[in-house]
């Protein structure tokens, strides 16, 4: 009786192993997930002034023209920074009429680059087609950017 039970148990285990092997062959190997791939590790970045500014501008709705879209993005940035109690990336922005009028003086291709999502999606073209600083001054002044010293210490 004991011998029969042992044989039955062995056969059952062998069958289980065969099933595991067949299923694994079909599904591929099972992997150990080392990372929490659904979680943001660097979560602090989304709460920072620069990130809040950029996300507000990128997510501002399109307007009738790229220049109006640009100004709406700046307004969205200002509103977001008020809510966030943070510091805007702009030192100064012209009133809407003056901003749009100066923007519309730019060539059409440069006007398109004033719309944040277009600029993001065409970064290389927009970078190549950069207006003179004098053309941008009547619209906005950004906060100063610290530059790395290229010389070795």
């Amino acid at each position: 009786m004991k011998k029969t039970l042992a044989i039955v148990a062995s056969l059952a285990i062998a069958a289980a192993v065969i099933i595991v092997v067949v299923v694994r062959k079909k599904d591929g190997p099972h992997h150990h997930h080392d990372a929490k791939t659904g979680a943001v590790e660097a979560v602090g970045i989304d709460q920072t002034d620069t990130a809040v500014s950029m996300m507000a501008m990128l997510n501002a709705p399109d307007q009738a023209t790229p220049c109006l879209t640009a100004f709406a993005a700046i307004e969205a940035e200002g509103a977001a920074m008020k809510l966030h109690n943070g510091k805007s990336m702009f030192k100064w922005v012209a009133p809407k009429d003056a901003f749009v009028a100066a923007c519309e003086q730019l060539p059409a291709a440069q006007q398109q680059c004033m719309a944040p999502r277009y600029r993001r999606d065409h970064a290389e073209d927009c970078q190549k087609n950069r207006p003179m600083p004098e053309a941008l001054k009547p619209m906005y002044v950004g906060e100063p950017i610290p530059e790395a010293n290229p010389a070795k210490p």
Partner: protein, 360 residues
């Protein structure tokens, strides 16, 4: 009972896999690209590329989700930090790209260090890099489903850049590196894998850009280990776009200056031979607390290339590896320039570390 004790470990063995397990032997591979394991895109992929009687293995592993800001800014890039490496037919890693601070698969770190202990013959390593470039291009061509797109992205980026022996930035430096070789480390005259010379190249790009204004910079370091040819490349992406990506610009380099033996490619460490790691404190754009951001990682990586550790004489430290502080161009703590540290609380809030570091 005895049968059970034999079968249970067998069942367990069937249920577990390692990277090495998925590497089909060269002789069993088809010529060209072989997709070895692409069933679980939330974990990663494994592939191999065979040409003649030689092969390389491509492995990618999925890490943490990138912050929303990075995903919004670069929607064409993978949403997750991804590690990627190439392994030669002897199981040695010769290229690795790290998405965040530490490897997703923690076994990689030791395997990469081990690769330095047993470098390949020069001709073999040069062939491996060439095969890797072909492998990456072939992988990107066949990995066309939405699930595989993140892996195809990094493979395509790798395929588009030159291998070290054809990279003008690196080849221009070989003569100078060879000239610095001490006579006692000349060819065939070394033990334990010989002596190493390290090069760290800093790449950056403007980030958070609107209009023609980019208020911050993202930086990444490409580290290369040279012996009698370029044996190993470690790209530290520092949470964002990786060095070598077409949007990143080469800025400057740091070199080890001395030839190092028993090099250990680690993370934060004050060991005298620890090279190439990034900061392991919390990551934050406002690195004003006990945390850091990408440019602090880059500074740390470059200083390790130069000194073999963060704790060299030209840095202020608090006695351990990650509390390094870089205080400006004079390195004398004059505070006249941007500041970097893995633990920024020790550096008066690391103001302005959202600009890239210089190359020490």
């Amino acid at each position: 009972m005895m049968k059970l004790s034999i079968l249970v470990p067998f069942i367990c063995a069937v249920g577990c896999t390692t990277s090495a397990d998925t590497r089909t032997p060269v002789a069993e591979l088809n010529q060209g690209i072989n997709m070895l394991d692409t069933a679980d895109a939330s974990w990663g992929v494994s592939a191999a590329f065979r040409e003649g009687d030689h092969a390389v293995y491509l492995e990618q592993r999925v890490g943490a989700l990138k912050p929303q800001a990075y995903r919004d800014e670069a929607p064409n890039e993978p949403a997750n930090e991804i590690d990627m490496r190439f392994v030669d037919e002897n199981g040695k890693t010769f290229f690795v790209q790290r998405g965040g601070d530490a490897y997703v698969d923690t076994t990689w770190a030791q395997e990469i260090t081990d690769s330095l202990a047993h470098p390949a013959v020069d001709a073999d390593r040069i062939r491996d890099f060439g095969l890797a470039q072909k492998a990456a291009g072939a992988f990107a061509k066949v990995a066309t489903t939405a699930e595989l797109a993140p892996f195809a992205f990094h493979a395509a980026q790798f395929a588009a850049r030159p291998i070290p022996t054809q990279d003008p930035i690196l080849t221009a430096k070989v003569a100078g590196i060879e000239a610095s070789r001490p006579t006692e480390t000349a060819y065939g005259n070394y033990g334990f894998g010989g002596s190493w010379f390290f090069e760290g190249d800093l790449y950056d790009k403007g980030t958070s850009c609107v209009f023609w204004y980019c208020p911050a910079k993202h930086s990444s370091v490409a580290l290369f280990a040279y012996q009698t040819t370029w044996q190993l490349a470690v790209i530290a992406c520092n949470h964002g776009t990786c060095a070598g990506n077409s949007k990143m610009s080469y800025e400057c380099y740091s070199q080890s200056g001395a030839w190092t033996t028993n090099a250990n490619l680690s993370f934060e460490s004050n060991g005298s031979t620890a090279i190439g790691g990034g900061c392991l404190t919390s990551y934050s754009w406002n690195s004003g607390g006990y945390n850091h951001l990408c440019n602090d990682d880059s500074a740390y990586e470059l200083w390790q290339v130069k000194n073999g550790s963060s704790g060299g004489g030209t840095l202020d430290t608090n006695g351990d590896g990650y509390n390094f502080v870089y205080n400006g161009p004079g390195t004398g703590g004059d505070g006249s320039w941007v500041n970097y540290a893995c633990t920024c609380a020790y550096n008066n809030s690391c103001n302005n570390d959202w600009s890239r570091p210089i190359c020490p």
